[in-house]
Subunit: 378 residues, 2 copies
């Protein structure tokens, strides 16, 4: 590849994932074009061309795609018809339209797992809330909207029939509630040459209410056997789905020592943020390498890490202020990542912090300190 | 500090050092304003405001400085009169005008070392070439232009009187040629609160002709005693010179086991590039922390590293092409940094590569492979 100075990579979505992709792409002389519906998107100032428009509008996405050599995403809620037309006209769309279409619909996703022998929680597909009554013996369960769930939205826990009233009256997946031991994630990269590389497994600790990652630990505390199973399962999903690009595979380790695939995302992912500081190749550089069909980078761990999401404080809505930053920055091993968002709102992802330390317990202690100290208010 | 979303940091110079500073500043929500005489400067696309103009023109620098909260540099050849006026009007200029003024003149620099008891090679100050004849018994020596030497320019080796004819006919420093064991560098950060942190010492391998860093090894292979001496000496220079910001201190380890200060640079430096991948806090983030008077970050090594500069191939002048990149990227541990320069010319700094590996010998082997394989041609 000799064209480095001219290559245009289009990104659908201009949020923090796009912003961190730009940081990586600067090292490759790749021009990043961004399309986002928010005129103040975090990527705006740093993209070679920023286009303001809807990711769901056929013409907007199609016209944007015609300007670039390779098109990728940082959010999966995009117009796949436009992507298919672009593909048919020779634009390289990675991940492919078919992959995004499958992942946009949690129902299709679950059926895909079943068909391909990928272990996942037992499930049923529902069209409306009424049908929930047919599954009372199946509870406790989790109802997930088939479409447009994102960042913890579109998920509802049903412990018993008393909860049915609060359920979604829309096409959804009803999944057996898994009483898991831990939640883990493996990021897989795959390029057009078929090369596949996985990241060492991480462990996720979710916010009890908001279904957002609160702490991430890298590496996960797993037996060698489970670690290998998780790696193999994640790679299998990526190959079966035939993705080119990154795939984040979130899994449950069940109490009886099995592994089930929970959800997948066809892009850089919150569960890979630590890789910027803690792995040989960051997930953002790896994404770039995979969609440009470059050799994939090593994923080995350089150091233990704990990642903490920095969410907008409940009760605060408006221009963002950061409280406690000085104490946090005075803590050795803290890597700050603010996302350039002018306004905060409750639980909005405003940034993240990666704490690295040779000693994992020390890293955890520091991460808890960071979480208690650093607040985003208005 | 709560103002993160509004802070404007001005940078005099928009080359690769500014570009890597922007990559770091994105994580702090700091807006970077850049002034550079090249309309295609590597920072252009990524700065919040790019101003095109001379760094040596009083009005240009002054007017630019009035737009920002804090002003810093990525090259020391700038108009210091304008910086002094800005300081007197309350703009925070870090490093300070007085520090830059001192470092701009290698003669003043050497006299400063002498005055403060900082060990350095014996020297004399000359006004013209004619005077070289008075120092025949002092040869072998190195003649360095007092002003405007940069990136290996302005340095001339005089082994014997036969070389005098090729010397500079300008104010210069004539320095005893040091028959050194190795060249090392320590980067020191100091903030306005007086906090000081040094990076572990690195070892430099220079291009025999061009006086540009060819390989950098981190950490340096030094005895514990020498490592400590190098750290202390570098910190002493930073304190004596009273700098706020980063100071790169290049030193010689002499054959009899002494350390002499060779040259200093009041900014991020080629000898700190490896810190992006290999140390807890990169020199670019550290520079930001120091000029914004934030707590300084830990400098510990995460992994061994070898850095290789990617220089324009001799005989090539024009639009840059990169040959051998695929083989290089297929090597585990390679971190690529291209600088976004459209045109190459012989020995122009076009990028760098940092190879990380647990095993230093393996890192060196890979770095040699990279150096032989990767070429920038036109």
């Amino acid at each position: 590849m000799e064209f480095y100075n001219d290559l245009k990579l289009g990104v659908l979505g201009g949020g923090q994932l796009g912003r961190m992709l730009i940081q990586a792409a600067m090292n490759y002389n790749v021009s990043i074009f961004v399309l986002d519906p928010d005129v103040n998107a975090p990527c705006k100032e740093f993209s070679s061309e920023f286009h303001h428009g809807s990711l769901n509008n056929f013409d907007t996405v199609y016209n944007f795609g015609k300007k670039v050599d390779v098109l990728t995403i940082e959010i999966e809620n995009v117009n796949t018809d436009a992507l298919e037309k672009l593909e048919s006209e020779g634009v390289k769309v990675y991940p492919q339209a078919s992959v995004i279409r499958l992942i946009q619909d949690k129902g299709l996703q679950k059926e895909f797992y079943k068909e391909r022998g990928i272990p996942t929680a037992e499930f049923f597909l529902l069209d409306n809330k009424e049908e929930l009554h047919d599954f009372e013996s199946f509870f406790p369960a989790v109802q997930k909207l088939r479409k447009e769930g994102y960042d913890g939205r579109g998920v509802f826990k049903i412990k018993s029939k008393g909860d049915i009233e609060g359920g979604f009256n829309k096409p959804s997946v009803l999944e057996k509630l898994i009483d898991f031991e831990k939640e883990i994630s493996v990021i897989v990269a795959r390029n057009a040459s078929g090369e596949v590389r996985t990241y060492p497994t991480v462990e996720l600790d979710f916010h009890p209410e908001k279904n957002l990652v609160e702490y991430l630990f890298s590496p996960a505390q797993l037996s060698e056997k489970l670690e290998q199973e998780a790696q193999e399962l994640a790679a299998k999903v990526a190959k079966e789905i035939d993705i080119i690009g990154l795939l984040a595979v979130e899994m449950f380790v069940t109490k009886d020592g099995g592994i089930l695939v929970n959800e997948i995302a066809p892009r850089t992912h919150n569960s890979g943020h630590h890789s910027i500081e803690a792995n040989i190749t960051s997930q953002f550089e790896q994404h770039l390498r995979s969609v440009l069909n470059l050799p994939l980078g090593a994923t080995d761990i350089k150091t233990n890490a704990v990642m903490v999401n920095l969410l907008g404080e409940p009760g605060h809505d408006g221009a963002a202020k950061y409280v406690g930053l000085d104490e946090v920055l005075a803590t050795d091993g803290v890597g700050l990542h603010l996302y350039g968002k002018k306004f905060t709102r409750p639980f909005r992802k405003m940034g993240h912090i990666t704490v690295v330390d040779k000693d994992m317990e020390e890293a955890k202690r520091k991460a808890r300190f960071v979480k208690n100290k650093l607040k985003v208010i208005s």
